[in-house]
């Protein structure tokens, strides 16, 4: 739920409860005031009746008190407390009974006691309460509508800078060299937020630049000595007086140097992928690239008499060509390296799946450790980073990779 919705909900609940409580209090207060008013009116009336009796020495006729209904009942009681009570008022002109308020008091006339009851209609008070109630209700509804509209439009307007910042953050690209800038606005809190975000962005970009430089420097420092080793060997073999055994030693050094170089490149590549430094994504035809790879590995495949069974549907992905190339290289390389002579490699590409299957040792590999760094088979001459790189490239593009051993085939399934 959005913040403005939360806020609307809270404010409307509070408003409604305050209005409800207010209405109840209001109702009782008005009733109380009206009762008081009626009581004082009735007191005055009964005073008038007493006065009339004293003056005229007889009970007044009902007509003398126009709307009010006065009844006199003889009683033997010596004392009746004056009291007010709610009753039913029967207007002689109208049939319907109405709510009324009455007073009873004791009147003595010539030694005879009478209980006098004066009843007045409450209709006017009720009417007043109804009017006030209606006005209050109308005001409450107006208030709720205004609150709702305010929350809906004015609040969302107030929050616009926040959403601008949020969108800018979503679009934030660490490798973008432009300075990350957020628009200034009228709200202090959002300006402060923007300032903090901008600072953080520039710090992150700085760190990123440092990392990039470190990566490059590390690469430079390690590869130059390797270049020296290779160049020295290239020079050394020009001496044809060397014995075959010495050449053999040199060959081993060549192999070690080239393996070290590959290892170094792989590690740097992993750093790059993990830090998301490869961002040259483009639309690629995966089936086309796999076809190219099959041709590229053709000699390697032929030399071990491996049968390639391909079933490729057209499929395009958005990814870095460089990384997809490495991904396919590593998968192919593994499928051939860990294969048996006269074995087979099965490649299946569908709209959402890429499957590499190869024959090999009749043994399920350890699924959990397979993709970890430097995990490799006992006979493997590789760097032990190939599948880690594959896994990382898949992660980068949110592809899922899983290994299984089915029908004597080692199967790598990538869900695109």
């Amino acid at each position: 739920m959005k913040l403005s919705a939360h806020y609307s909900k809270a404010s409307i609940i509070i408003t409604i409860s305050v209005l409800l409580v207010g209405a109840v209090v209001y109702f009782f207060a008005i009733n109380y005031i009206a009762d008081n008013q009626l009581n004082s009116d009735l007191t005055e009336e009964i005073g008038e009746v007493v006065e009339y009796v004293n003056l005229h020495g007889q009970l007044p006729k009902p007509v003398d008190f126009d709307e009010d209904q006065t009844t006199f009942v003889k009683t033997n009681q010596k004392y009746v407390p004056t009291r007010f009570f709610d009753t039913v008022y029967k207007n002689p002109k109208e049939k319907n009974p109405e709510a009324g308020r009455a007073i009873t008091g004791l009147i003595s006339l010539k030694g005879q006691h009478y209980i006098a009851t004066i009843t007045v209609s409450r209709e006017s008070t009720e009417y007043l309460i109804q009017i006030i109630g209606a006005i209050t209700l109308a005001l409450s509804i107006a208030l709720l509508v205004i609150l709702f509209v305010t929350n809906r439009y004015i609040l969302s307007g107030l929050w616009r800078p926040f959403y601008d910042t949020l969108n800018a953050l979503k679009a934030f690209n660490i490798s973008d060299s432009k300075r990350f800038h957020l628009r200034h606005n009228k709200v202090d809190e959002f300006n402060e937020l923007n300032r903090v975000v901008e600072n953080m962005a520039s710090r992150v970009k700085n760190d990123y630049q440092h990392l990039k430089h470190f990566t490059e420097n590390a690469s430079h420092e390690m590869l130059t000595p390797l270049a020296v080793i290779t160049a020295k060997l290239d020079t050394l073999i020009q001496d044809e007086t060397l014995k075959p055994e010495q050449f053999e030693q040199i060959n081993d050094i060549y192999s070690a140097a080239s393996k070290l170089s590959r290892l170094n490149q792989s590690l740097l590549l992993l750093v790059k992928i993990e830090n998301n430094l490869v961002d040259d994504a483009e639309l690629l035809s995966l089936d086309g690239l796999i076809g190219q790879k099959i041709r590229q590995f053709n000699e390697l495949i032929l030399s071990r008499d491996i049968k390639v069974i391909e079933h490729l549907e057209e499929k395009e992905v958005t990814a870095s060509k460089y990384l997809v190339d490495i991904l396919l290289n590593n998968l192919f390389s593994n499928a051939i390296r860990h294969n048996i002579d006269h074995g087979q490699v099965k490649i299946t590409l569908t709209a959402n799946k890429l499957i590499f299957q190869n024959s090999g040792a009749e043994k399920t590999l350890n699924n959990e450790r397979l993709f970890e760094r430097f995990q490799k088979g006992q006979k493997s001459e590789g760097t032990g980073l190939g599948l880690t790189i594959v896994k990382n490239i898949c992660n980068l593009y949110h592809w899922d990779i899983a290994y299984s051993f089915e029908n004597s085939l080692h199967t790598f399934l990538i869900t695109l």
Binding site: S219, E221, L223, T230, K232, S258, L300
Partner: protein, 225 residues
């Protein structure tokens, strides 16, 4: 061919100089940005081998300098930075090729020869080695004026050997040249042998001299004698 080698690692500089010198080339070298600009302002070279990471600055400055001075040296960048950005930047500023460390000297030589040829003989696309004539544009080979049909790999191999004539080339270097270093050859060089055998057979059948020699255990040599 007159070469300037700009490389701060002395051992590497010496080996490159030594490797290139034997072929009638003149090689000069320096180890810093300032030294390089000093030499380039005084002399003209056919080709410059440029290491991007120099102790006193970025090697790209030399490319900028050459461009500003409208000098016509062919430039090959040798860099330890295998970053696509650097590669594109270098090629955009005017470098002719880009080679990542570590590399084989034979590969370096082949690349230098190729860019030098492109630059120096724009109109003349014929490469002649004794009785072997190669049409670089048409990618066709004649021996004693008779055409020989070579596969793409055999043709690449022949050019590589001619560029490195008289040198022993290791199988590693040859494999990397033909299949690229991103493809792990699993130290299996059997199929190089197949290509070599075919190339040699085709050249001999076309009555060329037998220039190719196998150096036991290490590689091959293509020598004029």
């Amino acid at each position: 061919m007159k070469l300037l080698i700009i490389e701060d690692e002395q051992a590497l500089r010496d080996n490159i100089t030594h490797y290139f010198n034997e072929d009638g080339n003149i090689c000069e070298s320096c180890s810093s940005l300032l030294g390089a600009i000093n030499k380039l302002s005084n002399y003209d070279y056919d080709c410059v081998l440029l290491d991007i990471g120099l102790p006193d600055g970025d090697g790209f400055a030399i490319l900028e300098y050459l461009k500003a001075q409208m000098k016509n040296e062919a430039v090959l960048i040798i860099s330890a930075r295998n970053s696509l950005d650097d590669k594109l930047k270098g090629l955009n500023i005017g470098a002719d090729d880009y080679l990542t460390k570590p590399f084989h000297l034979a590969e370096l030589k082949a690349r230098v020869v190729a860019i030098y040829r492109r630059k120096a003989f724009n109109s003349n696309s014929k490469l002649v080695f004794n009785e072997i004539a190669i049409d670089l544009l048409g990618r066709s080979v004649d021996v004693n004026n008779l055409p020989v049909t070579l596969t793409r790999k055999e043709y690449d191999m022949l050019l590589y050997f001619i560029a490195n004539k008289g040198k022993v080339i290791s199988k590693n270097a040859l494999a990397e040249h033909l299949w690229g270093d991103e493809m792990d050859m699993h130290d299996n060089f059997d199929f190089i042998y197949t290509h070599i055998k075919n190339l040699r057979k085709k050249l001999l059948e076309a009555t060329a001299n037998d220039y190719l020699r196998s150096i036991y255990g290490i590689g091959y040599k293509f020598s004029p004698q």
